[in-house]
């Protein structure tokens, strides 16, 4: 064990965050202000998510951290180590074995269960911020349910590009009331947000927490004649042949070579373990040899 308090933060800070989480759950989609603390990592590296996780973890939890779906990137590895040291919790890379999952910009492919908690790292929690820079104004717009500007933005997408070009951080309406930024997840993940797990969102620099209880109605904004579409690359994973997962495009050489692979590394690995082989993949046993 380390010289830190359990889960790094002091108890009064955790109480303040916990009160914000409870009010967030009671008002789904509403951004609760909280007194974000300076964390031992720079803004933009998940300080909000880390504070929410720290206030949520118990010693019995098993933590999984993903960054763009991957368990083995710098951000995910360092946050996992942070909580191994400061909270002494078990960690895993397997979605099904985790009780708390902190994520940057993805929802795991595997359906989450009722006993799991998904914590999002959020850079800009205010969906209207790029349309209206003033916090005083956006707060008023939320209170008056004045979301016309967002529809104008989506309409301009259609006018310019022929389709809604927003492909990530696609705005949603929660329970017919608050327009919410789902954090920069690909819009492919938006339909998954009506899930069995509790979803918590933490924005450290912007000092906001918001939340979705299980089975909360989450509707991606769209138009009758331009309905929302959860898009992904028209391809199967080159390693595990999955056709239903969100794909990353990887440039292989200078000659235009490329491959598509699952962004969810655990999903891809478990499929390969089960014997699925993609177009450019090799059998897992041969790989190991």
């Amino acid at each position: 064990m380390s010289d830190y308090n359990f889960a790094y933060l002091d108890e009064q800070t955790k109480r303040m965050i916990r009160r914000a989480i409870l009010k967030g759950l009671a008002i789904p989609g509403y951004q609760v202000p909280f007194a974000s603390r300076e964390m031992p990592m720079p803004y933009g590296w998940g300080t909000g998510g880390v504070q929410v996780s720290a206030a949520t973890l118990t010693p019995d939890d098993t933590l999984k951290v993903i960054d763009q779906g991957a368990d083995d990137t710098t951000n995910a590895v360092s946050i996992r180590k942070f909580f191994e040291r400061t909270a002494n919790v078990g960690t895993t890379e397997e979605t099904s074995k985790a009780s708390v999952i902190q994520t940057r910009h993805r929802i795991p492919e595997e359906d989450l269960r009722e006993d799991q908690i998904l914590v999002y790292q959020v850079p800009i929690p205010e969906p209207l911020r790029f349309l209206e820079p003033s916090e005083v104004e956006t707060r008023k717009m939320h209170s008056l349910e004045e979301y016309g500007l967002m529809h104008v933005k989506l309409y301009e997408d259609i006018a310019q590009h022929g389709a809604i070009a927003t492909s990530y951080a696609y705005p949603v309406k929660v329970e017919g009331r608050y327009v919410m930024d789902p954090s920069p997840i690909p819009k492919f993940d938006n339909p998954k947000m009506e899930m069995a797990a509790i979803q918590l969102f933490g924005a450290g620099r912007e000092q906001r927490i918001y939340a979705l209880p299980p089975y909360t109605q989450v509707v991606s904004l769209d138009f009758e004649d331009y309905p929302f579409e959860a898009s992904k690359a028209e391809h199967a994973c080159d390693l595990c042949a999955a056709e239903d997962s969100y794909l990353d495009e990887v440039i292989m050489d200078d000659a235009g070579g490329r491959m598509f692979v699952c962004s969810d590394t655990d999903y891809c690995a478990s499929r390969r373990k089960a014997g699925h082989v993609g177009a450019q993949g090799t059998n897992l046993e041969e790989d190991a040899a």
């Binding site: 109480r15 008002i27 789904p28 509403y30 118990t58 329970e175 509790i198 939340a211 209880p213 089975y215």
Partner: protein
């Protein structure tokens, strides 16, 4: 201050509070769901679950209103030592503790403002018992429907829900059990087909 007031706090504050919060969050995220919440031993008539909730969520930054029989010297001493929350009048409180009859009427508590609906009171209501059956609940956190043994006059909860996004949020406690009813939950008696 009597020496008893010094007892009854969390034995291992960070860990007990973490478990306490998990129970409170599961209850608030899933209305009707009954969780077990232990750790505190508050003075009578306060239940273990209610005392643990206060230790988990309250501190000197959260004005607390003690209603009816819960406003006794033993409890004030216990709050002063373990929590440090200022004990205030009902309209100034962020947290309210009491039996259902004592916390009524629901008018006068902080409801939040349209720009800051989170600045509303959370009521911890002590019940004789908690169980399924009784009122039927629908809303965020509930897959289809849930049930909870709420106080009889559910019109008060129906009125509270119409205030959304303003409104009060409730915890119900009995012994070491806790359940919750956020402002989003629609409460009825009848099964709507």
């Amino acid at each position: 201050m009597r020496a008893d007031a010094l007892k009854g706090g969390f034995a291992d504050a960070p860990v007990d509070a973490a478990h306490g919060f998990r129970a409170a969050m599961n209850a608030m995220a899933r209305p009707g769901y009954i969780e077990t919440l232990r750790g505190a031993v508050p003075p009578a008539p306060v239940s273990v679950a209610a005392g643990s909730l206060l230790l988990t969520l309250c501190d000197p930054e959260t004005p607390l209103y003690l209603a009816g029989a819960h406003d006794c010297q033993d409890m004030r001493d216990w709050v002063a030592f373990h929590i440090g929350a200022p004990v205030v009048a009902r309209q100034e409180a962020l947290f309210v503790l009491g039996a259902w009859d004592a916390v009524l009427p629901l008018e006068g508590y902080a409801l939040g403002t349209s720009e800051y609906p989170d600045q509303s009171a959370t009521l911890i209501v002590e019940m004789d018992a908690l169980g399924g059956g009784g009122a039927i609940l629908r809303g965020p956190g509930i897959k289809d429907t849930a049930t909870l043994s709420l106080p009889d006059d559910i019109s008060l909860f129906q009125r509270n829900a119409t205030l959304f996004p303003l409104g009060l949020d409730f915890f119900f406690t009995a012994g070491d059990q806790v359940a919750a009813l956020p402002r989003t939950t629609k409460v009825t008696h009848e099964e709507v087909v």
